[in-house]
């Protein structure tokens, strides 16, 4: 955190001054470790084993915050008798389908709901990264469930959890992670001792956690611990993701993502959502509890904002205009399609995949095979110049005079040259005022896309093609100002907030959204940011003039709420758990919820409220159910649906690992997404042969002095000089083994690429003892590329493409490689070296290893007696050829 988010880290130092103990877990000793009280070196890719160890410690010693767990989580809920755990299936849960390497989730459901809830077959959900929909709400689940308040029933979630993690002992943590068991216990004790009624503990992770083939489950494990310890919805608690880009939260809320529409509404799927009603019902789950019950209003209002007068109740608000998904259309699938010549044009908007995405060579080869490429950036980045000075030009794979890609570089306006809002990592929107005009041809994206759209609409104004109707009917009138006709950002923010169509009055809350076409709302979760016609995100009341919650600085979604699910900061009766941790509580005199924050609960619903039989929507949420966006109002220790690779986190080895999974015969996540494309490969891992060809583990991350792919730091003099060269950090032990010298050169080889770097031999890296073996890890910054003031080979070139099944994010925090002294070869000799390694490792292009580990128990579908599933029957037959992207097993 000190490395990548130094200013956020001031609060950790503040806590430390007041006596807090800081634990830092990282494969290498960083600037955070330097000021932590305890540092735990860990083998990259084993976090679930570590966190699972903490879960086991809590459950074995009954250290959970029992009142909280009983009342607010699904610990007492009874699960179907058809459920079978990975402990019984040697790494597989019940319901595994080896044909698609995905799960049928019926057997994971709560008892009595095996057939009427859940997601069913998950292969299609994987392709559409359906897990991302749950960023603002839980998955579908039945509200009326059987519970055992004594937590003794063998199939209650608490007992299932206990059995699942029973083998995650301190000894196992040591064996899997390489963490000394005493040190592990120090962490487990500190965490549990500092949680409960009087104290809360915060779990902070940087989003490297997401970059694993089982990344979502990392975060799930953290959430399980925090729920068990009562650290969710309370001040000083929570699971805090430190995201790495100024408005990456905003670009997820108002998504430039293939599978989402604003406010986490799913992009329609051709087979599942042929009609507006089917689409809406798939979001709101008729009969389900919670606030998603009003999804029809959010959906209708979005389409009304998109298509204005043309969108009417009679034509389903132009629902037919929306493009439909048929499978995986994610960025990696796109790049492979580029290589195959299926994509004509590509826009890069402040993004540099030639350096920042996994498998840089695939990225660059894809871009070299387009008809046209538009790059909008502040600086001339690698993704704009790959055709003239990329690594593939040196190897002869890209010949400029044979590369047909037409490239437009359009200079972009910087953050001080335009106005608008960023949404930072805690969902807070902050408006930026404009300071100066952009130089020369530089323009904002707002300008570019507004005028591009205007021009497209002009050109198509007389088109008779049905495909052009969505463009012609688009509501695209925004007021402009200034010599360049810059659109007014506040007008766009007002549309995002939503307004009453008849009067133009901005909505104050999403509760005012209607499904009859009388309201237009661009992003329902942002409703209120323009309440009363005032730009609430522009509020800048000094922290000196308000309390510590600082509710009048910017605006947080939803409803300016700073801590989600804060009803959980009070006990079931609505009283603060403790005076010290008072945050939101029930005021019996006024008969309403009150506190420092906006209560995340219906303001006047008393703690004693119990829903009538069969109640749905918000009405179905009881007065002591804090998790109001969940279908059962509970925090989920166990996820009966929504997570595609298991209802509970399980330790799997990374896709590339030098180590055999010590816990299960199944080596890696069996549901991970692998592309069997000739450009892609996966280094062999045990029990496959030849894994010793790539004996070392490499991991990559950020330096304080640089930013992401370097486009905003290697180009900036006072930053570039602080970390002026690509380097690799190695332990003294590995340096001795390989023959590396301080400040000398090393090159690293994977099945995809070879890169070189200067050597820093440092005590900050350590070998680890894992399952009786010594494992060496090296660390690389991923900021370097071939453009800018300071240059170097790109670490991301080493990675192949393997994705998490829930969100289709690549595993780019760990891979295996060989490390050799000296500089790498250049020109065609470089390709020969990679080919030689591929040959020795038995890598066959386009044939990644099997998803199900040979020798692992043949998964059965016994838990799924019907053996069939309507979703699957519906979805597979009509898929558009992207099935070959699956595991080749």
């Amino acid at each position: 955190m000190a490395e990548a988010h130094p200013v956020g880290f001031q609060w950790v130092m503040e806590a430390k001054r007041r006596g807090a103990k800081v634990f830092h877990v990282d494969p290498r000793f960083t600037r955070t470790s330097a000021v932590a009280d305890t540092y735990l070196p860990i083998r990259a890719g084993t976090d679930i084993a570590l966190l699972g160890g903490v879960v086991n410690h809590i459950l074995t010693h009954e250290l959970d915050f029992r009142e909280y767990v009983l009342a607010y989580t699904n610990a007492a809920t009874i699960v179907s008798e058809r459920f079978a755990d990975t402990e019984d299936g040697d790494g597989f849960f019940s319901g595994f389908d080896p044909e698609t390497n995905s799960y049928v989730q019926d057997s994971w459901q709560y008892e009595g709901h095996e057939d009427d809830s859940g997601s069913g077959h998950t292969a299609d959900e994987r392709d559409s990264a359906a897990g991302m929909r749950h960023e603002s709400h839980g998955a579908q689940v039945a509200g009326q469930v059987r519970r055992d308040e004594t937590l003794r029933h063998p199939r209650c979630v608490y007992q299932i959890l206990k059995r699942h993690f029973a083998r995650y002992t301190p000894e196992m943590v040591e064996r899997v992670c390489g963490i000394d068991r005493e040190k592990f216990l120090e962490l487990a004790r500190a965490w549990t001792e500092n949680s409960g009624r009087e104290r809360t503990g915060c779990l902070i992770y940087s989003v490297g956690w997401t970059q694993h083939s089982v990344g979502v489950q990392y975060i799930r494990t953290g959430a399980i611990i925090q729920l068990l310890l009562g650290n969710v919805g309370r001040p000083g608690g929570g699971v805090l993701a430190l995201r790495g880009h100024a408005s990456i939260q905003g670009s997820t809320d108002i998504p430039t993502l293939f599978n989402l529409l604003p406010g986490y509404l799913p992009m329609p799927h051709h087979a599942d959502h042929p009609t507006f009603d089917e689409w809406v019902d798939s979001i709101r789950h008729p009969g389900q509890k919670g606030f998603w019950g009003n999804a029809r209003a959010y959906a209708a209002s979005l389409l009304k904002a998109y298509w204005g007068d043309a969108a009417t109740p009679e034509n389903d608000f132009c629902y037919g205009y929306l493009p439909r998904m048929t499978g995986d259309h994610g960025t990696y699938q796109q790049v492979l399609n580029m290589i195959d010549g299926k994509v004509k044009g590509y826009f890069l908007l402040g993004q540099n995949p030639a350096v920042g995405s996994a498998h840089g060579r695939a990225q660059r080869l894809g871009m070299a095979n387009l008809d046209w490429l538009v790059v909008r950036d502040l600086f001339m980045i690698e993704s704009a110049t790959f055709w003239r000075n990329g690594p593939e030009v040196a190897t002869g794979e890209i010949v400029p005079t044979e590369c047909r890609t037409e490239v437009f570089f359009l200079p972009a306006a910087s953050h001080v040259e335009k106005e608008g809002t960023f949404t930072q990592t805690q969902r807070l929107l902050q408006w930026r005022e404009k300071a100066v005009d952009p130089p020369g041809d530089a323009r904002s994206e707002l300008w570019f896309f507004y005028h591009l759209g205007r021009r497209l609409r002009e050109k198509l104004a007389d088109s008779a093609h049905p495909r052009d109707r969505a463009l012609r009917d688009l509501a695209w009138d925004y007021p402009t100002h200034g010599p360049h006709a810059e659109p007014r950002a506040e007008a766009v923010l007002r549309e995002i907030n939503g307004y009453e169509v008849a009067t133009g009055r901005p909505l104050s809350t999403f509760a005012e959204a209607r499904d009859d076409g009388s309201t237009a709302v661009g992003c329902w979760i942002y409703a209120g940011v323009y309440a009363d016609g005032v730009n609430q995100a522009a509020r800048r009341k000094s922290r000196h003039e308000q309390d510590w919650v600082a509710a009048e600085w910017g605006w947080a979604w939803p409803a300016n709420r700073r801590t989600l699910y804060n009803r959980a900061s009070a006990d079931p009766e609505g009283r603060p758990w403790s005076e010290r941790k008072r945050y939101v509580w029930w005021d019996p005199e006024k008969a309403e919820w009150t506190g420092y924050d906006v209560p995340d609960f219906e303001k006047t619903k008393p703690p004693t409220y119990r829903p009538p039989e069969g109640a749905a929507g918000p009405e179905g949420i009881a007065g002591d159910d804090p998790f109001v966006m969940q279908g059962d109002g509970k925090g989920w220790l166990y996820a009966p649906s929504g997570v595609l690779d298991g209802p509970l986190p399980t330790h799997y080895e990374p896709a590339e690992s030098p180590v055999r999974n010590p816990l299960y015969r199944q080596q890696a996540n069996p549901t991970r997404k692998v592309y069997a494309h000739p450009v892609n490969s996966v280094n062999p891992s045990p029990p496959q042969e030849h894994s010793q060809v790539f004996p070392y583990v490499f991991t990559v991350s950020r330096l304080t002095e640089h930013h992401t792919a370097g486009g905003m730091s290697r180009t900036v003099r006072p930053l570039a000089e602080l970390q002026p060269e690509m380097f690799v950090e190695v332990s003294p032990e590995l340096a001795a083994e390989v023959g590396l010298a301080q400040l000398g050169w090393a090159h690293l080889v994977s099945g995809r690429a070879v890169i070189e770097a200067r050597v820093l031999v440092t005590d900050r890296l350590t070998p680890l003892r894992v399952d009786g073996r010594v494992i060496h890890q090296v660390w690389l910054p991923y900021h370097f590329g071939f453009q800018g003031l300071v240059t170097g080979d790109s670490a991301n070139d080493l990675f192949g493409i393997t994705l998490d099944p829930n969100v289709l994010i690549q595993e780019s925090k760990i891979g295996t490689c060989d490390v050799r002294p000296g500089r790498r070869p250049t020109g065609p000799a470089l390709l020969d070296l990679v080919a030689d390694y591929q040959r020795r490792a038995g890598i066959v292009a386009g044939r990644p290893g099997p998803a199900v580990t040979p020798g692992a128990p043949p998964p059965t579908r016994a838990a799924d007696p019907t053996g069939s599933d309507p979703t699957r029957a519906d979805g597979t037959g009509t898929d558009h050829g992207d099935r070959e992207g699956r595991d080749a097993s």
Binding site: A4, V7, S247, D253, I254, P255, T256, L257, P262, H270, Y306, G320, Y321, P323, R324, M325, Q334, G345, Y346, F347, L348, G350, Q351, P353, F379, A384, W387, R388, E406, V407, F408, P411, H415, V416, E417, G420, Q426, L428, E433, A435, D441, E445, F448, L452, R455, L460, A470, L471, A489, I496, G522, C523, Y526, R540, S542, W553, T704, H707, T715, V716
Partner: protein, 189 residues
Amino acid sequence: MGLRTFIEGWPVYRQLTGSDPLGRGAAAQSARSAELTARTETADGVARSVCPYCAVGCGQRVFHADNTVTQIEGDPDSPISRGRLCPKGSASKSLVTSPLRQTTVRYRRPYATEWEDLDLDVAVDMIADRIIAARAQTWEDSDSEGRPLNRTLGISSLGGATLDNEENYLIKKLFTAMGALQIENQARI
């Protein structure tokens, strides 16, 4: 300046006649030093802004004069950052005023070995034409069972995590209306 004033302003004179006989302080202060003011004091204005690097959301004050950024520093009022900035945030002035910034459109023809110049208006027009052509070439009306698809898989986009919400909103709205589904950003990476 008269001679008398000139000599009175001269350090040695001040040293010999003033309270600073060693000439190390008040007497040695130069004309520039005496008139020195912080350039934040003389700025035309200050914009309340937010750091463009990571997602912590530190407040920035952007001072500017003559349409040029003269200083960017932390906003002490911010409850998030309390006026502090990391090295990247502190380098924001160098970022936005960098001489390495591209300020004109650059164009690379197919098979060309060099960049050439292109008018911005022409560039936007050419891009619009290419979008229309790509849609025409790759449009899919419906699947094999006649269900609507309304899309092109011939256009891709990546980016948006450092852009404004308003910008992302227009990007998603326009791409969706043109049937371009393959819109992605850093959140997937």
